[in-house]
């Protein structure tokens, strides 16, 4: 039976869908069979992030209404065959909690990992997504507003029977961390009192890839940071990407000044 991990944040715009997509790619490229589920019903974007928007014919509500089989609604990624996406274009009222849970349950039988891209906010959609999951990853950025929302989500998650609740700090600016101008990854973890399993640097490559709808370059800092999170999920390792490394030493001095 596959593990179901919900990727949530509370606050919108922290990079949750991008993290979900890239994490799915990293797990799939490590050999796992992965299903990405867009639970942001009606405001879905995971198809766009993965660059498969034109291949989506059915979605989760079509499965619920019996208009197609689950296998027909799954979009297999054109370049990564063990990565599939279940999209959601319907209005929020179109998918019931029970139907969503049934879909996740069916996916568990065919995939090693099911990553649910949770909608922002803490409304019905949040609870629908979280109630199906075994584990949760809270994505935050090192700014007070998103840490505060992550804390609220953490409190809400304590009401669910989740085996693990862990944090990914996204968009870390290593140069500013070194100067003490912004919060570091450790600061965020200590405030939230949750284990940080991912430190993902701000990377222009993410913006470039999102613009043209292709998966992040495998040599990018973003992808390498996400690979460490995938390794944590699959093997239980605990290495964090060092977002400050690029800005240390003689070369780092020039890079800091160049930004």
């Amino acid at each position: 039976m596959g593990r179901c991990i919900v990727v949530t944040s509370g606050k919108g715009g922290v990079g949750k869908s991008t993290i979900t997509a890239t994490l799915g790619v990293a797990l799939a490229e490590a050999g796992a069979k992965v299903a990405l589920v867009d639970a942001d019903v009606g405001l879905n974007n995971l198809d766009l992030v993965l660059g498969v928007e034109s291949a989506v014919a059915y979605d989760v509500s079509d499965v619920e209404k019996g208009r197609c089989r689950l296998t027909e609604a799954l979009v297999v990624h054109p370049f990564i065959e063990n990565l599939s996406l279940l999209s959601s274009r319907a209005l929020a009222s179109g998918v019931s909690q029970r139907a969503f849970a049934a879909v996740i349950s069916a996916l568990r039988r065919g995939f090693d990992y099911i990553l649910i891209d949770c909608p922002a906010g803490i409304d019905e959609g949040f609870h629908r997504a979280v109630s199906c999951a075994d584990e949760a990853l809270i994505v935050t950025t090192p700014v007070p507003a998103s840490v505060r929302d992550a804390d609220k989500v953490s409190d809400l998650l304590s009401a669910y029977r989740l085996r693990r609740v862990e944090v990914i700090v996204n968009r870390v600016r290593g140069d500013l961390v070194l100067k003490g101008e912004v919060l570091g990854v450790g600061d965020v973890g200590s405030v939230l009192r949750l284990p940080v399993v991912g430190s993902v640097p701000e990377d222009d490559e993410v913006l470039r890839s999102a613009t043209v709808g292709k998966i992040t370059d495998r040599e990018s800092r973003h992808y390498r940071a996400i690979c460490l999170i995938a390794s944590h999920i699959m093997l239980g390792t605990s290495s964090l990407y060092d977002c400050t490394a690029k800005y240390r030493g003689i070369l780092g001095l020039f890079r800091k000044r160049a930004r």
Binding site: V143, P144, R148, D151, K152, L183, G184, D187, V191
Partner: protein, 79 residues
């Protein structure tokens, strides 16, 4: 003070406000229950009964209770 340190203090402060604010209903019930218990042993001044909840640096709750009583009630012995 560096920006990062200022940021941490701001977050800690706002989280503390969020968490203690959410406890207000609980504190009202707690005060009522405390009064009932204390009133069995003391003649408590109702205006003096305080129950305050704060969040400590470890994320736990620090509960401070104080009250002033006019006199001790005579508690009957049994057996």
């Amino acid at each position: 003070m560096r920006n990062a340190a200022v940021g941490i203090e701001r977050i800690k402060k706002v989280l503390l406000q969020d968490k203690t604010g959410a406890q207000e209903d609980v504190i009202a019930v707690l005060r009522s229950d405390l009064y009932d218990v204390l009133d069995s042993y003391f003649e408590v001044d109702p205006q003096s009964l305080r129950a305050e909840v704060a969040v400590d640096s470890f994320g736990g709750y620090e509960v401070k209770i104080s009250a002033r009583a006019f006199r001790v009630r005579k508690v009957g012995h049994t057996g």
